[in-house]
């Protein structure tokens, strides 16, 4: 994808590289300049009365609300609940996705049994299952966690399965000449060889976990960031809704950074090669 874009815009790529060499600081400033400008315009518009605060709170108002929500413990408590749900769903979804990918990746029989239904199910919009999940699992914690897990398992499964299947058969052949047992081939070659793809899958999974959580918490919940936002809607508190949105954005960004960090640690052998894209 990146190469494609670069091929389409050769001139732009050249200038892009030049700015990188002239100094990262300049580029850093430029990247955030437009964001800062937008915030200033937003604030100015709100103060001049051009943007009605009923529809969109001003940035200063949002910061103020975030602070007071933190002081009265509404925000931290709801945040903790949301983090717990996303974490539980993520762990469950990754476990299921990894297990299914191992079954499908390591045996032909497993592939026949697992892969076809997974490929079919992944095209279903998972969010369309929300009404069914409420019917099946009620409105407690279970449907929320399961919904997150459901969304998470697909990118994990697809990427790990692809990773296992794309391991160089020459390495397996080598392992056989060395007399490695099947278990050692899995442990020393297949698992580490598929790890980069698994991590790509987990990065997608983390993003999806927040997406699923937003919906799960807005449909039926009495706590969590999503619930806080739905509550605010009843009282026309756009400032609280925007605080919720900002929290989701920060969480998404942070969790992505954590997975990237883990990639750097776990894949030191790749040197500085860039992280490739995967299947969503």
């Amino acid at each position: 994808m990146v190469e494609l874009v670069m091929n389409l815009f050769p001139a732009r790529t050249a200038s892009h590289q030049r700015s990188l060499s002239t100094g990262g600081l300049l580029r850093f400033c430029r990247r955030y300049l437009s964001v800062a400008l937008l915030l200033v315009l937003w604030q100015a518009g709100a103060q001049a009365g051009l943007i009605p605060s009923r529809l969109l709170a001003s940035p200063v108002q949002i910061v103020h609300t975030a602070w007071s929500l933190t002081l009265d413990r509404t925000l931290p408590q709801n945040l903790l609940v949301s983090l717990g749900r996303a974490g539980a769903g993520l762990v469950l979804g990754i476990a299921v996705g990894v297990a299914l990918a191992l079954v499908a990746g390591l045996s032909r029989v497993g592939e026949d049994i697992v892969d076809a239904p997974m490929q079919m199910a992944r095209t279903l919009p998972a969010l369309a299952l929300v009404p069914l999940f409420i019917l099946w699992f009620g409105i407690g914690e279970l449907p929320k966690i399961l919904l997150v897990a459901l969304g998470v398992k697909f990118p994990v499964y697809l990427n790990l399965y692809k990773g296992i299947r794309s391991i160089d058969p020459k390495l397996i052949e080598l392992a056989k000449t060395l007399g490695l047992s099947r278990w050692k081939i899995i442990r020393d070659i297949i698992i580490p060889g598929a790890l980069p793809d698994l991590l790509v899958g987990i990065r997608f999974a983390v993003g999806i976990s927040w997406l699923m959580l937003v919906v799960a918490e807005q449909v039926n919940a009495d706590s969590g960031i999503g619930h806080m936002m739905m509550d605010a809607e009843d009282f026309l508190r756009t400032d609280i809704i925007l605080v919720g949105l900002a929290v989701y954005a920060v969480l998404g960004l942070l969790s992505d950074q954590i997975v990237r960090l883990a990639e750097g640690r776990l894949l030191t052998w790749r040197g500085r090669t860039a992280v490739q894209g995967g299947t969503r």
Partner: protein, 244 residues
């Protein structure tokens, strides 16, 4: 080369490291190897020459145990190591861990270190394979083959992808290692000069049969300018269908 104490497998081989009898390998209608007979003595260095598609790789795979033997018989020692044209090091393990692949336990690390020093890679023990040069990677692959103390070492065009100078250095290294480890060597190669520089005996495989067999009774190190070397070279090239 030397009188090792005979293991049971070697005894069954009647004194040979490798014994192939009436081996035939077909893929569907095509016969790749036809009624092949070959003995390799313990400690003997044999070079196998042939065009692409002559059946060299098929023979090697059968000897390595990667292929089933359906027609004929292959007796080989249990300790067989293969070095391939590509180093086939696992990129996610450092050099030492690649050499000890399959052996669990810390005691192997000292062994690996000694062998890596022997192949001239003592300074890259903890390096990642992606950071090695082509020659260094093949040295690591040699170390991985030798730590298993093979009775038969198979080299499948191991230097074909290296530059000319590195190749010469690696050839000398293989000779040194062969003398020290005292194993039979089967070197598959395209390169007549390489076969003549290293081997005791050169075989030319053509359309699934060994058509030519040339003893190379020259003392090592061998010089290309030697008239005897030149004569053998002519014979092998002629057998390969290259006429000057």
């Amino acid at each position: 080369m030397s009188a090792n104490s005979l293991t049971k497998a070697e005894f069954e081989l009647a004194g040979n490291a490798v014994s192939i009898r009436h081996f035939t390998r077909r893929f569907g209608e095509t016969t790749i190897l036809r009624n092949l007979n070959l003995d390799i003595a313990p400690g003997e260095f044999v070079a196998l020459l042939g065009h692409s598609g002559s059946g060299k790789s098929t023979l090697l795979r059968a000897l390595a145990g990667l292929d089933t033997v359906e027609e004929g018989q292959i007796d080989r020692p249990s300790a067989v190591s293969v070095v391939f044209q590509e180093h086939r090091l696992l990129p996610w393990k450092n050099v030492t861990d690649n050499v000890t692949l399959g052996f669990d336990g810390k005691e192997w690390n000292a062994q690996a270190e000694a062998i890596l020093h022997e192949v001239g890679l003592g300074h890259r023990l903890d390096a990642w394979p992606l950071t090695l040069s082509g020659g260094e990677a093949q040295r690591a692959a040699l170390a991985r083959a030798l730590i298993r103390e093979p009775k038969l070492l198979m080299l499948d065009e191991p230097f074909a992808a290296l530059d000319a100078l590195t190749r010469l250095r690696m050839q000398k290294l293989v000779l040194d290692l062969w003398k020290r480890h005292d194993c039979a060597v089967l070197l598959v190669t395209h390169d007549v000069d390489e076969a003549l520089a290293l081997a005791d005996r050169a075989l030319v495989l053509e359309r699934g049969e060994i058509r030519t067999e040339v003893e190379i009774p020259l003392a090592r190190p061998r010089r290309h300018a030697d008239p005897a070397f030149e004569a053998l070279r002519e014979r092998l090239l002629h057998a390969l269908g290259v006429t000057s």
